[in-house]
């Protein structure tokens, strides 16, 4: 099932495996999307749907699965938290879950917890009949997602809903497995996190997690964005998905107490209980010998956040003059950020800006942005009014660097430099090192308020001005500080300061045996395409997460042809097991080792906007939420209140607009590549055929699209691939806009983000790029 993604265009090499599954195993490819994309063109079934109604569709699938008893019963009882009893004060009414604090616009999630016995173990009902069980709660909740209701919300006909459900929900048994492929079509919504939760719930009910050919596959967008998030280049995490400390966690004890879960079931491995080992080893990697048990391993040197530091909030602070400077490393905020007027204005409020990139892109010369009526919006109209000092440091491109790329399957494949950077461009590591060493020197010379985190930072390389990728990879893997030897895996990490590791999940990637990521052997012992000797995957070269769930309680695969990990009488073989290979199945260790129960969470209090997914309308929607019109949108969403934070109404902007990428370009940077410009030169707008006829817009002519925030003009691509949908009794049109254009490059075009809004998911704060309202006209 491909939803919220267009892999044929945006992950073409990965998509070949979907086609191979069809070729070799008669797999069916189903695409659910507002447009008939190039992926849908080769799919078996295409379901057109209104952008922003994914949870309604997924809820229908969950309903269909449960109502028709298509769920994988043995799996659900034994491996998921479906039998868990939820607290009796949990509830859902009129669009709100229990615990909503109206004034604060957020939930108190206490009632979303489980009933525990005196010993702290969760209460269960393995018959799944108890009305407080997760199973019954989920069944009741999604019984509201009938074909009729979901058809009204999504615009999908009831016939198509049933056709899709028949195929997708057929995998809830030992003999079949289904996978879900998604990308930013799901995450870039105000219900983004819940979109994925809904898919997780469905896949768990169908027993598809942990089995080969199953799982939920996030198709990561850029070549190494998986590596980026793994190494903590995110506002809210440290490397290895450790939570970033908050202001109130002033010492390591408090941090560890608040971030180390305790188990609620005897079967749980609860691997996050080892958090202290991961954190201390990280601190040792960063501050070396100066980090000792006495000083909490320099925990106080870690920056702690006291506010929301994610993208929209950071740029909002910038807009309001709270941020002096920005180091923009390998990205293009002027193009990427939602609500371009506000984005570009924010950059103009900086005192200084450093752009480190191979290209002098739109951000590097943001003052060149096309003139808009900025005066009325209270921001600088002329570039003469902008006081930002801008530095451009030309850097290498990814082809000009060694290192590794981590793919969507967590395989960390080593890559080699193809040639030297052009002209004066320098390698990224050279730039970082030189900046760091200069700053360190300045601190050492003239002191400062709190220079130690910089001055005591460990920087031990052969050439401190230009560390090699190998040296860094070794640091990330970590070593035993007593013996000086590279660690074999994170299993040996300690919290007494005797181990160091720059990222616990990458421990095992560069051992004493060498750089495991460089391996290129094609041996496949499992015959399931795991190729354990090709590169290295985290964690510990495991290829399928939670692979224990691919076998029954006795350790025999649910289906011999679909085996990932099995018990051969003496040990677990196949993929890499999650616990000691000789621990027998009789021990009944829970397969989901990262949860505090050992079971997979169909019901979970981890997200802030609900323990289970509920359909909420996008912020800008053509209709009210027919499930609960008084709580139309996600009640936990935060809004900004500046002049430029405008929300549009459907009376003025009747059409649903979505943004996307095309096969020919990679984000904003390939408009500098002549061959790619040749195959996709101009900004265009995909218009439904009948709508274009109504508005008298010709194919190949020009069309203007405008939202409450801005307007763009492009070539009209009039298409029959976007059908009108009947939503809540009304005809709704959808329009598509590709985002690759900007005001620099070999070909120029308007910024798609002039139209988008800066409101986002309340968990990840990803902006709702994928659905907003517009109107169109002839320019």
């Amino acid at each position: 099932m491909i939803m919220g993604a267009n892999p044929a265009e945006n992950h073409p090499v990965g998509f070949r495996w979907a086609l191979k599954a069809r070729e070799k195993k008669n797999a069916k490819i189903i695409v659910i999307d507002p447009r008939l994309t190039r992926t849908a063109a080769v799919a078996d079934i295409f379901v057109p749907l209104r952008s922003g109604t994914d949870i309604a569709f997924l809820g229908w699938l969950i309903n269909y699965t449960l109502a028709n008893n298509l769920y994988f019963k043995e799996y659900v009882i034994n491996y998921t938290n479906a039998p868990f009893l939820v607290k009796s004060n949990y509830g859902f009414k009129d669009g709100l879950f229990s615990g909503y604090l109206e004034a604060e616009h957020r939930y108190d999630t206490e009632s979303w917890g489980f009933q525990l016995d005196a010993a702290g173990n969760v209460l269960k009902d393995n018959t799944l009949e108890n009305p407080h069980s997760v199973f019954q709660i989920v069944k009741r909740h999604y019984s509201r997602y009938t074909a009729e209701t979901v058809s009204k919300i999504t615009g999908v006909s009831e016939e198509k809903l049933i056709e899709a459900a028949k195929v997708i929900c057929s995998t809830g048994n030992p003999n079949m497995v289904g996978t879900v492929m998604y990308a930013v079509g799901w995450t870039q919504h105000t219900v983004g996190s819940q979109n994925i939760r809904a898919a997780a719930m469905l896949q768990l009910l169908l027993g598809n997690i942990g089995r080969p050919g199953g799982g939920i596959n996030a198709l990561r967008g850029h070549a190494n964005v998986q590596g980026q998030t793994d190494h903590g280049l995110v506002a809210t995490t440290l490397p290895g998905y450790l939570k970033i400390p908050v202001k109130t966690q002033t010492n390591i004890k408090t941090y560890l107490k608040e971030n180390t879960p305790s188990k609620i079931d005897k079967h749980a491995v609860n691997y996050w209980s080892n958090t202290s080992k991961f954190l201390v080893s990280l601190l040792k990697a960063w501050w070396g010998n100066s980090a000792t048990k006495e000083n909490d391993f320099n925990y106080e040197y870690l920056p702690k956040i006291d506010s929301n530091t994610t993208w929209m909030f950071a740029f909002n602070a910038m807009f309001n003059g709270k941020i002096n400077g920005l180091i923009d490393f390998g990205m293009n905020p002027a193009c990427v950020g939602p609500n371009s007027d506000k984005m570009l204005a924010s950059l103009g409020r900086l005192k200084w800006l450093v752009v480190i990139d191979p290209f002098a892109h739109e951000t590097a010369c943001f003052w060149k942005r096309p003139g808009n009526d900025y005066d009325s919006k209270g921001i600088a109209a002329n570039s003469a009014d902008i006081d930002t000092e801008v530095f451009m440091l030309p850097s290498s491109d990814w082809i000009e660097e060694d290192g590794s790329f981590t793919n969507s399957g967590r395989w960390v494949q080593w890559k080699y430099k193809s040639y030297d950077p052009a002209h004066n461009a320098k390698s990224d590591t050279w730039i970082i090192s030189n900046i760091f060493l200069k700053i360190r020197k300045l601190y050492e010379k003239s002191g400062g308020i709190f220079p130690e985190p910089i001055t005591k930072l460990s920087w031990d390389y052969e050439d401190i001005y230009s560390p090699t990728k190998e040296e860094i990879a070794k640091e990330i893997n970590g070593k035993d500080l007593k013996t000086g030897k590279q660690l074999p895996s994170f299993i040996v990490l300690k919290d007494d300061g005797s181990t160091a590791s720059g990222n616990w999940i990458y421990s095992g990637s560069f051992t004493e045996a060498g750089n495991m990521m460089k391996r290129k052997k094609l041996t496949d012992n499992t015959k399931m395409g795991m190729f354990h000797e090709w590169s290295w995957s985290w964690p510990v070269n495991r290829r399928i997460l939670y692979n224990r769930a691919s076998a029954d309680l006795k350790g025999n695969p649910w289906n011999e042809k679909l085996r990932a990990l099995w018990w051969n009488g003496k040990e677990w073989v196949g993929d890499v097991p999650d616990y000691p290979p000789t621990a027998p199945p009789s021990k009944e260790i829970g397969p989901f080792i990262m949860t505090n129960s050992g079971y997979a969470n169909i019901f979970s209090s981890a997200l802030v906007d609900g323990p289970i997914a509920e359909h909420y309308e996008p912020i800008e929607s053509p209709t009210v939420n027919i499930l609960h019109p008084n709580v139309s949108i996600n009640p936990a969403v935060k809004f900004f209140k500046d002049k430029l934070d405008i929300i549009g109404k459907s009376s003025k902007y009747p059409y649903v607009c979505t943004t996307y990428r095309v096969a020919e370009h990679e984000h904003y940077l390939t408009r500098w590549v002549p061959y790619l410009v040749e195959i996709m030169p101009d900004f265009f707008v995909e218009l439904p055929y009948e709508l274009a006829k109504e508005k008298n817009i010709e194919n190949g002519g020009k069309v203007k699209v405008y939202s409450a925030r801005g307007e763009v003009t492009g070539v009209a691509v009039v298409t029959k691939r976007i059908e009108p949908l009947i939503v809540n009794g009304k005809k709704v049109w959808q329009i598509g806009i590709p985002l690759h254009w900007g005001y620099e490059g070999l070909v120029k075009g308007p910024l798609a983000n002039l139209l988008t809004l800066n409101v986002g998911d309340p968990n990840a704060f990803t902006p709702e790029y994928k659905t907003f309202l517009v109107n169109i006209s002839k320019p």
């Binding site: 070949r16 061959y675 410009v677 195959i679 691509v717």
Partner: protein, 494 residues
Amino acid sequence: MINNSIAIKNASAVSSNAPLIRTETPEFVKLIDLSRCTGCKACEVACKEWNNLPPDKTENFGSMQLHRSLTPTTWTMVYFNEAVIGGNVQYLMRKNGCMHCDNPACLTACPSPYAIVQYENGIVDFNQDKCTGCQFCVSACPFNIPQFDGVSNRVYKCTLCIDRIDAGLPPSCAKACPTSAITFGEKHKILDNAKTEIKKLVKRGFKNAKLYSPRGVGGTHVMTILPYGNNVEDYKLPKNPEVSPLTTFTKGPLAVFGGLFMGLTTAGSFIHLITAGPSKVPEAPEVSAAKEGREEEIDRHNLATRIIHWTVAISAILLIVSGLSLYSPKLFWLSNILGGPQSSRFLHPWIGVVFLISFGLLFIRWFKDMVIKPYDIDFIKNIYSYLIHDEKNIVKSDKFNGGQKLVFWCFSAGLALLFISGLFIWFPGFFGSFAGRFGLFIHELTAIFFISAIIAHIYLSLIAIPGSLAGMITGKVKSSWARFHHGLWLNGNK
């Protein structure tokens, strides 16, 4: 690009057989499975990169398809089309490029020896060094593949990466294709794979899935699996492509006929020379009477007329020379006269323009004199008497006799035909392939008669009717000559 002439199975304009002595070399096929094509255009970029071709300037005309057609620097491209098939909108994508036909129309149409070769493995390749830029291949190809470049004056197309194949590598497009929609291999193996894939497609619900490798061009070495096999034209493919009968007729029977006809005209002239011989004008009585003094000379053609006539004549000769070189491989050596094949082909249409303008001027001068009168018809009725010099039955003519007038009007009509058909041949991109093929057929047919008429005209004016040449060089003719051949004109002049 292969430098191994022994690998050539067939070649353009060879006056003898191709050097194929070994027949056991396997044939290769490139298979494009459209059920796997996602229109990503990696093949377009890979082709450009391998062949170091420059990017074209393109603009979006309302589609994901960014080239309206192939170009001299774009040898493959993806067509996009939305068609309603079976009640649903289908998004069809097809990689377009040379089909490497087993019976290549381009090879048949090409007049330059070895400019187009077909290798034993099935690849049809252009040798641009031998290309004259005539664009006969452009008009002949039923798939509109060869692209003419106005700067280099040559045509270009997909080489099926012959240089990579020689080195044991797959074609660049096949290597780049992310979904393996493009595969390449030995012909029978690929055909087996295609059969299997089509069976799978049928099972999946594509009841009409077919392999596109049209019989009309002898089958192709680039085959395409069409999931909707009954909707060929929705993929922007011709339904029944073939080597046009115009092409085969022009290169076959017409060439033979032309040779015979022109040969017969030459032979006929020779036979006349050795039988009837040149005409003898009886001596003027004034000259035989008086032993002194010259016979009176009369002005027949003024300077301007003569200059124009000779311009017409010289350009006609050059056109014939350059034209014949493209007409038959056996006469290709004639292209050296105008500086080589490329130069000769390039100059031919421009000399045609000179011919048109100069004959036009001549036409303006002479058309009044060329009006057909009743006595001209009598003259033509008695043409035999004229040819065998039977003085008694020769009809008196004015400035030009009936035969000359007939020839004049035929030349005029022929020239018009030659010029218009010539334009079609010159600009097939503008007028279309059918116009190009039809134009070539009309051009050659007209030329056969035209050249035969010129052979006769030259024979008559140079040899058979002495005194005519002098008239066109000095502008003057003897009065006795005038009295004999153009009596009415002489009377008018007196």
